[in-house]
Symmetry: C2
């Protein structure tokens, strides 16, 4: 991706995050970028194409964050914990983009889309399923090697991913105290999920 396109995506992600898809205009994105509308239209014929590319970049950033964690040393659960930590951190580090991914899920449900747009969004949603399956496979490996409890893998994965992803609803980047506070928050969430609420004797 060219750096010009990348700059447009960053500005667009910020606008969509703050105002939502429906009220954001190409003008807003141009203004934030300090560029002409022409520069954006050169790459994106319509607002929804821009939105899709932000969504696509948001998913790509999640994969890029989690895939290296899959190579972590240790038993199945240790690797799963590293993946969850990387995911939690990526959600906060890329807050604008990942908030747009959630909006994309809503758009998928409610949006009046053309067949071509529906197909693009279907592919983006399929990429979410693929992302979830990375965690499912790892959870299955962790059950096999005995490091994970005997839980329903599908429900457990949905529960833990939901726990992290809901942070997009309550996390406030403007109150953020920097990378180390994000890492501490990610660690606290993952510890809660790994250890459980019940005190271990």
């Amino acid at each position: 991706m060219t750096s010009s396109k990348q700059q447009i995506l960053v500005a667009a992600a910020a606008c969509f995050m703050e105002q939502g898809f429906h009220t954001t205009t190409i003008d807003d994105v141009a203004r934030r970028l300090g560029a002409t509308k022409g520069r954006i239209y050169h790459h994106y014929p319509a607002k929804i194409d821009l939105f899709f590319d932000v969504h696509r970049e948001g998913m790509a950033r999640l994969f890029r964050a989690v895939e290296p964690a899959m190579q972590a040393p240790g038993d199945g659960l240790t690797v799963l914990a590293a993946m969850l930590h990387a995911h939690a951190l990526a959600l906060m580090d890329n807050y604008d983009f990942e908030s747009v991914v959630v909006q994309g899920v809503q758009l998928h449900r409610f949006g009046a889309l053309t067949p071509a747009q529906r197909q693009v969004l279907d592919e983006l949603i399929a990429s979410r399923d693929q992302f979830e399956s990375l965690f499912k496979q790892q959870a299955e490996a962790a059950r096999r090697d005995g490091s994970m409890a005997e839980l329903d893998v599908s429900v457990a994965v949905k529960t833990m991913l939901g726990a992290l992803q809901w942070s997009l609803i309550w996390y406030r980047p403007e109150a953020d105290a920097g990378p180390s506070s994000r890492a501490a928050l990610a660690a606290a969430m993952v510890r809660t999920l790994i250890n459980g609420l019940q005190r271990r004797s």
Copy 2:
């Protein structure tokens, strides 16, 4: 609340859930109800007032589900688990209404609202905070009596409520196999949160 109003809310919740706030019309609600638009306008001057009342009813149903669980016998964690189970079940049992509550949170962020509307929505969001604080207080009690692990209570509560609430994103009522399958799903989610992913030795 009169039964006429209650019927309107049930129809409106279904419409808002299926189509989202922006594309739902009073006509849609009237059609679903098999009633005239006049009957709805008699109670609700505008679509947003109807939306607010669905949101309000959604929050009321969560409180009504969780409050009895606060009286469950047992140590602090047992009560907390009962509250989580009641919450998980209420989210599924009242899927239409609770999906609208999530839409309300988005509207709070993105919606162009009048000051009077903003005030109503502020009150509804405050009621969410109050709901969360029921769980915080119980988690603190569970830490005090030693049944809960030494976790950051605020992060732990946000993590576990998020885990359950994200089910509004993936749960599909049309694939639902009835009350007993909902109860089993709620139990599996709560077990994941209470026991944690790590196998207990």
